[in-house]
């Protein structure tokens, strides 16, 4: 009797699971990427719960910021859970290994890090994070306005640091400045005094720090301690409250580009992201405390909004859990138009799997230990 009941329950469960939409989410909630992955995991509870009367199941796994673990998670999603879409992952290296499996299994993937595959490789991969080029472009405008001719650079010795350095050097000539130093540090380094000294001695007009979150504050404070008086730029990865807490008054005047969600309470009402970002920020901070908002969690929210819109279309064409549904979902994602998310407005196409425009970035500076809006980008 017990056995039959168990069988029945399993049969029922699988019958309902057939109709549900299953999304596999692999995030870096431990390891070096944890400050990105944790707010993303916290956002899962705020994602759309159903679309067109179908329930959406989210299966969340941790990849420990490790490419091997991310690949293993993706295999599990594809082979065991038969997911309709994979959201992965928090960092570029972990996202790129998942992309191979997504392509092989013809499962659409949404990456939360600025991972930019090219050609056929990008067919199944969409990215919600802004490209570093897009974010850098608003910094270039600010540099031109402030007559910055020489730029010093201190960045992570990893993909993030490399990519920002590449963006700077590739556009330096066109933008009329020269990158005069390229120093690297590790997230957990106990001192960056040597690098800061080196950059300071070049006497650049401005310095850009290619790091994320609290580690970005260390080179900044080291430079100020050495008496560096010039402008200091940061990347959008640095924008969280812990960064402000750690850096203290040394951060005054730091300029950085961010997604609109960071400035949700200062955005003009005309900004398309205002209402979505405000709703997300309020819900998130209600659950996790004031000042806990992170731009990284908001990427997952945007992924959820993209899926909600695309799944409604795909459901009319196929049954969830089938290859036809996955293909329909991919096509629907690719034809997303004018979707207002927390990080700007998404207009995807076969050529552009990022879908951002200048509304995805605002320029801010640190003033009195708070963010202050410089320009809203629209």
């Amino acid at each position: 009797m017990k056995k039959t009941t168990a069988l029945l329950v399993t049969a029922l469960a699988s019958a309902t699971a057939m109709a549900d939409i299953n999304i596999g989410i692999s995030l870096s909630t431990t390891g070096p990427g944890a400050s990105l992955g944790i707010p993303e995991r916290n956002t899962v509870a705020l994602l759309p719960k159903e679309v067109g009367g179908e329930k959406i199941n989210y299966i969340v796994l941790d990849d420990a910021t490790d490419s091997t673990a991310a690949a293993k998670n993706a295999r599990k999603f594809v082979d065991e859970q038969r997911v309709d879409l994979i959201i992965a992952s928090s960092t570029v290296p972990t996202s790129s290994v998942v992309a191979q499996i997504a392509r092989e299994s013809r499962t659409p993937q949404i990456a939360l890090a600025p991972f930019a595959p090219t050609g056929d490789d990008k067919t199944w991969v969409f990215t919600v994070a802004q490209t570093n080029e897009l974010m850098a472009s608003v910094l270039f405008e600010h540099m031109r306005a402030n007559n910055v001719k020489t730029l010093g650079y201190i960045g992570y010795s990893d993909a993030w640091g490399d990519d920002w350095h590449a963006v700077l050097t590739s556009s330096a000539e066109a933008q009329g400045f020269t990158v005069i130093s390229n120093e690297r540090f590790n997230r957990t380094d106990s001192s960056v005094a040597g690098q800061a000294l080196r950059v300071n001695r070049g006497e650049p007009d401005a310095v850009l720090i290619g790091a994320t979150g609290t580690p970005a504050a260390l080179p900044h404070t080291a430079l100020r301690r050495l008496g560096y008086k010039g402008l200091i730029y940061h990347t959008h990865g640095a924008a969280n409250q812990s960064f402000l807490r750690i850096g203290g008054s040394a951060l005054e005047g730091a300029v950085l580009p961010v997604g609109p969600v960071v400035m949700w309470n200062q955005l003009p009402d005309s900004h398309p992201s205002k209402s979505v970002a405000a709703a997300y920020a309020r819900d998130y901070e209600a659950a996790h405390g004031e000042g806990s908002l992170s731009p990284f969690g908001a990427y997952l929210m945007d992924a959820g909004l993209l899926i909600e819109r695309a799944a409604a279309v795909a459901l009319q064409q196929a049954e969830p859990g089938t290859p036809a549904f996955r293909a329909a979902l991919r096509d629907a994602l690719e034809s997303t138009r004018d979707l207002a998310g927390t990080h700007g407005v998404y207009n995807l196409s076969a050529e552009d799997h990022f879908g951002h425009d200048e509304r995805a970035r605002v320029l801010i500076q640190v003033s009195n230990h708070q963010w202050e809006l410089l320009s809203a980008g629209d």
Binding site: S35, T188, S190, S191, G194, L197, R198, G213, T214, A217
Partner: protein, 346 residues
């Protein structure tokens, strides 16, 4: 390279070198007495710094609950052993010995508003919370496998380190912390300016090194610990309680780690997982000392600190490569000059 750059980098290198020296000493100490390579040594550093940062933020540090939980487990283990051997009469004594300090600390943290404590007491409280974690760790994990091979003990250490990092991420979160500086002054010597914070770090580290030297060279108990290190069975035969020696070595290591955390906290940003890199650098220094010599390990640590500082100025992208490559010639030298003695078989 001018005089200013040279003195600046030297000062920076000596400051981090002092921290590495303390870690290296603790590693050598623990290895000598128990044959454990304590991968988690750096975790004591981050735990104490993050505990102090939490206290300074006016919150109750969760590490005190970690200590309470760990001590309770030790108690359960000891009581079970006592019950098995029919020594239940000792139960009150075991409870009193193991639980008094953790309970008092938990009560203090629970009853006293951390924000009202004076700064020095917060520092003291952080050290007192972290220090007993050493013996707790030894009694829970290493004592039952004290006779295992060095390799097995190393694997256990790696496992413990990963577990501690997980707990620490859970307690403190992924963002970094920095503690308030003890002093913000500078010592001006001509055009060179030396921060008092650096002087304080180097001074306290040197004082601790001298204290350890005196302890091991000139006290009976220190000599007994050294005897355990040389020959465990022989020490047992002449009446040295070797289990206690292990526990005390871990206590010393935890104290050294906690003090290092307090010293380094205001200088840099520490994360839940910063400890590993600090242990590794200390380990390089300990290897320079052949995992046996305290003065050589300390000298090696200052060398590592200086090398790191100068490398970060010239070729920052290859800094770690340069520091860790230092191990190769040292190992080559050691393997050519020392006679390999087979480890005592059990």
């Amino acid at each position: 390279m001018d005089w200013y750059v040279f003195t600046f980098l030297t000062q920076d290198g000596l400051t981090t070198g002092a921290i590495y020296a303390l870690i290296a000493l603790a590693l050598v100490l623990v290895f000598a007495v128990t044959r454990v390579i304590l991968v988690g040594q750096g975790d004591f550093v981050t735990l104490s710094a993050l505990t102090l940062a939490t206290l300074q933020a006016g919150k109750t540090p969760a590490t005190v609950w970690l200590l309470l939980g760990g001590a309770s487990l030790v108690c359960v283990k000891m009581l079970a052993a006592a019950a098995r051997e029919g020594r239940l009469a000792q139960a009150p004594r075991i409870l009193l010995m193991q639980m008094t300090l953790p309970c008092v600390l938990a009560l203090v943290c629970w009853l006293v508003e951390p924000a009202t404590l004076p700064g020095a007491l917060k520092v003291l409280l952080s050290i007192v919370i972290i220090a007993p974690l050493g013996p707790v760790l030894y009694r829970l994990v290493y004592q039952p496998v004290a006779q295992a091979s060095v390799l097995q003990l190393l694997i256990i250490s790696v496992a413990i380190h990963i577990a501690v990092i997980g707990i620490s991420l859970w307690i403190f979160g992924a963002e970094g912390f920095r503690t308030l500086p003890f002093t913000s002054g500078n010592l001006d010597l001509g055009e060179v300016s030396i921060s008092l914070q650096s002087v304080l770090v180097i001074g306290i580290a040197l004082a601790l090194i001298v204290a350890l030297y005196l302890f091991f060279g000139h006290t009976l108990y220190g000599k007994a610990l050294r005897a355990t290190a040389f020959n465990q069975r022989g020490a047992q035969l002449v009446g040295v309680p070797t289990d206690l020696a292990g526990s005390h070595a871990f206590l010393l290591a935890a104290i050294i780690g906690a003090v290092s955390g307090i010293l380094i906290g205001p200088i840099t940003t520490l994360y839940y997982d910063s400890g590993f890199l600090i242990t590794l650098k200390g380990f390089v220094a300990a290897i320079i000392g052949g995992m046996a010599s305290y003065p050589l390990a300390a000298a090696g640590a200052f060398l590592v600190g200086l090398l790191e500082s100068f490398a970060s100025f010239w070729v920052s992208a290859y800094k770690e490569v340069i520091v860790f490559t230092l191990v190769l010639p040292v190992l080559l030298w050691l393997s050519l000059t020392t006679h390999h003695v087979e480890e005592e078989q059990h």
